[in-house]
Symmetry: C2
Subunit: 597 residues, 2 copies
């Protein structure tokens, strides 16, 4: 921990040098990515806390780390002895980062952060706050970078073209669609910094970010030009030819800032200030008219096309075969696995599948009490043997050329107590209710959220995470704008659910110190009947992995719920049975037979 | 209809005189009231359409009326032969008022309306639109008023004090709470134009608006002063003394405009531009800082206090006794009633109840096919006999000193077809599901809406109106901010449901040309258990009127739903049986006995 203290001392030295009194270190790269490459883990470097979400605020007297409920335990451990105060976000009486920063601002003080790793919208909030308190803002230097001698480089990774048989739409067609959206808004230029949006638009994939096959880059689009800002060392001749064939010009990664600075007078610029970094926004000339909106690509990439849908079904078939083989091993094999070795076994099952490109996120393989830690990640230190009792919770997913998956199953590893079965059944009912929703077009994921939670609410229970998120196609496993959520973030206009959107359905129950249960399927939104009441929509369940019949209390389920379950299990067997070795197929047949109350 | 043509010609004459090319006539008074007194029915005067909702737009060449689905049939009839085009709001391809107005705007044209009857927010939208099209705005004159010789006056109506045994909170306490809210926002002055908010704040009731016992007035509040702008002719000495005892000064109704004009430099003014008229906003000096937010009173009056809750239960007991006596007459009496005489009979039953102050809205008593017209109002012309077949839909409510009610029952007037029973049962299930929701604090009426609609969605059906609205206490029967709704209006932050809010639960099914079914109860939000998952909330059903057992298909209901129904019916009998004459009590006992599948 003395290492962290030394780093803090060095940072405070730099703060003094630049006249900064309060310095914010977020967990972001220059693209507001959810996962970031090692090069950008400044917040981890300065605090020692390795969780994926968190913000550090350093003053001359104090250093604080803000993180959410997923990481309280981990942060407590990792911050111990560091003199850094842990602020538990969302707990009563705990100030938010903004409230804390505001309380520190005084006339004449200076608030600082690196403008390249702060979203423009958030930076503007801080700017307003500083101004109203008579304080100043310093956003032009990366002070942590200055005191980080062994900072990891961004290694060169492969860049490759996602063929149209996988993407289902040519780059020309996508660019034309975005240009039409720009035309409707009378925008002269569109600035894209979101890596997944750029990858989708160019039908390119890369390897700059763990678990998300994208490339660090920016893109600008006008009615005539398309410029891709990327480090030239990773662009092969093949990629250069491919792009120039689609009218895309390549420039150096950092050149975007000065290109924006030299935009002609009065240009109308379309950008999303939640996804564009503050430095980009500040590079625009004064005369620019900024149209701050969601990127048109956000909705376009969320609504999967027919080719993608066909492929995604295939990806789920493969993932479900792998996961079911994993289940067979757990339920019938020797009790010689630990959390880590079980996760490895699942990876091995997945690797056998054709076109598999690895994990779509670091898997959660959490046995017993670990299952109650929502974002548990087993380490060498925490790893435990999986015994023949209690629950094992496994949340994992893969990337395939045919798409990306995200699934959770909770497995009864031995005889369960009635209360455990009751909880499993409640979560299962919640999952099935949402999956079988029928709804009128116009509903959002916020409208449907209660259909899932209600089964738990009736028992006086709930889960403290979202009910579901959109899933990218060989991109980030977490994708917007579709989501199932209880609370609408202030100022957000929830997205209507439309056919082609893929969203997870993942209710859970977490009993601290005992076990956790989460059951997650992916749902494809499809058209239902259309009549005088409007267009109806419903879901196709993409995931084809059995639920654990050993954990189900049939008498707690209504006849309709049992029918949903039995129909699903029959479909699972029909769709993946053929792809299993005979012994496993026989087991699956038995394991998916109808359940009656 | 020649009358309407003459009026349009006279209005166009005035438009020419003032150089106005497009003139908008909304259905509003100076307070954005939902119901307006006859004096303010300018839109009705100029179009001949008497429905409560609608907007007229008149140009030199065209006159259009916009109204919603509730009024399509009525508007078609009333506009026939008038040369006014009916724009059916919400139908595909029909422009909105804004879109139409925008399409008419050209450089040099002038858009006009009376700024006192247009909400400031809406007026600002039109102003921006005119500016961006190079057109001008004229909002200072009431052109319809100039050509309306026999315009009804605003008659003097009684003004009276709602005692604290009914209101549950003194004026001093209410004013202090609003001042605290102003203090939190650092507001210097608060401008209130919403009549219900003013009536709530001053514990005063009046009679200026049909069905809403309030008085036309404005109010301004500073940290030291409270000024009520009202026509002096209705203020008795008693009221004057009462108000001066609470530090409230009285000034003339129209004086507010010049008082706002002479506000000192740089004042921070709290107001809700959706409820304050455009003229008020435009009266503020340039140097004013406007804080455009919901009135603090909106949420305060929506959350009923303990006295109000106790009273509201009593109001519902009374209304339910009256409604049940009405049901008894319909189900067992002679078949000699028509829609109008049935509604009169219900009024007579209500009038027998102590402290009854009349209808809270014009009742809907709609037989057979009329039931499918969502906001049907029987007239001498449309009135039909109620026969011994099909459904009668009755949506009615009363004002009592103890509060305001709103209830709908649909009654089987004779043998029903199986399909009719299926529909009734689906609506009943929808109603019961929402009423029995349990949910975590943080949920809004938007989160819970699907719990109601889902029973209908599963059958490929829906209803094209909101699921429920807040209910005032001896104020407007429709009140915000709480509501059950599917779609969140753009830019609105939905209100969290909190204990003390009263909201209706009114799903329906409407089969055009055949019948309509709506079942409406009022729900009081109450606290449920509080545990490690948070504070849970649930509903107490305030309405105590039986559902029609002759219309229920028990086999279509789950055991849980039947249990909800039977428990409700038992409670109805226990709570109101005692207040009925013996014969009716015996009938109710039979009529509310348990139903089994």
């Amino acid at each position: 921990m003395s290492e962290v203290k030394d780093r803090l001392a060095a940072l405070r030295e730099k703060m003094r040098e630049y006249g900064v009194d309060i310095y914010i270190v977020p967990s972001s790269d220059c693209h507001e990515s959810e996962y970031v490459s090692a090069h950008f883990r400044a917040r981890e470097y300065i605090t020692g806390f390795t969780g994926s979400a968190g913000t550090a605020v350093i003053t001359m007297e104090e250093a604080g780390l803000w993180t959410d409920g997923r990481y309280f335990l981990q942060a407590e451990t990792q911050l111990a002895g560091s003199c850094i105060t842990l602020y538990r976000m969302g707990e009563p009486g705990v100030p938010t980062v903004s409230e804390y920063v505001e309380s520190q601002l005084r006339p004449g003080k200076c608030l600082g952060f690196d403008g390249r790793v702060m979203a423009a919208a958030k930076a503007q909030d801080f700017e307003r706050m500083a101004r109203s308190r008579g304080a100043s803002l310093f956003a032009s230097e990366d002070l942590v970078g200055m005191i980080w001698p062994d900072r990891p480089d961004i290694p060169d990774t492969k860049l490759w073209v996602l063929e149209e048989c996988y993407s289902g739409e040519s780059v020309d067609s996508k660019i034309a669609r975005v240009r039409r959206a720009m035309g409707e808004q009378q925008a002269d230029i569109h600035v894209l910094a979101s890596l997944c949006d750029i990858a989708w638009l160019l039908n390119l994939r890369g390897g700059d970010i763990p678990c998300v096959p994208v490339t660090l880059s920016f893109l600008t689009l006008t009615r005539e030009t398309c410029v891709w800002y990327v480090r030239s060392s990773i662009v092969t001749d093949e990629i250069r030819n491919y792009l120039s064939g689609h009218g895309v010009e390549i420039r150096a990664y950092d050149e975007i800032y000065k290109d924006l600075e030299s935009l002609p007078m009065g240009r109308r610029v379309l950008l999303d200030s939640k996804n564009v970094n503050s430095r980009l926004l500040r590079s625009l000339p004064e005369s620019t008219a900024v149209m701050d909106q969601s990127n048109p690509t956000e909705l376009m990439k969320a609504v999967k096309n027919e080719t993608e849908i066909k492929n995604i079904r295939e990806a789920h078939r493969k993932e479900s075969v792998a996961f079911t083989r994993f289940l067979y091993r757990l339920k019938t094999g020797k009790a010689d696995l630990t959390e880590l070795s079980a996760a490895e076994y699942l990876d091995a099952c997945r690797a056998e599948q054709e076109h598999c490109l690895g994990q779509s996120f670091a898997p959660i393989c959490a046995y017993g009490p670990h299952g109650a830690i929502v974002h548990y990640a087993a380490t060498e230190e925490s790893d435990v043997p999986i015994r023949r009792e209690n629950f094992l919770l496994v949340d994992a997913g893969g990337h395939y050329l045919e798409g990306t998956t995200d699934t959770t199953r909770t497995i009864a590893m031995g005889p369960l107590k009635p209360e455990q079965k009751r909880m499993y059944t409640a979560v299962l009912r919640a999952n099935l209710h949402l999956a079988h929703a029928k709804f009128r077009k116009g509903a959002t994921g916020y409208s449907l959220d209660a259909l899932c939670r209600e089964s738990l609410w009736q028992l006086g229970m709930d889960f403290k995470h979202g009910t579901g998120h959109g899933v990218g196609y060989l991109l980030n496993v977490h994708e917007g704008p579709n989501a199932f959520r209880l609370q609408i973030p202030a100022g957000e206009a929830p997205a209507e659910l439309v056919p082609g959107m893929v969203t997870t359905d993942e209710p859970g129950v977490y009993i601290a110190g005992e076990y956790g249960i989460r059951l997650e399927n992916e749902l494809l939104c499809v058209e239902g009947p259309s009549n005088e009441y409007g267009q109806f929509l419903e879901f196709e369940i993409l995931t084809l992995i059995p639920f654990d019949r050993d954990a189900i209390l049939a008498e707690e389920m209504s006849p309709e719920e049992l029918q949903w379950l039995n129909a699903y299990h029959q479909r699972v067997y029909e769709m993946i049975g053929l792809y299993l070795p005979e012994k496993e197929r026989e087991w699956l047949k038995e394991y998916t037979r109808a359940i009656f109350s």
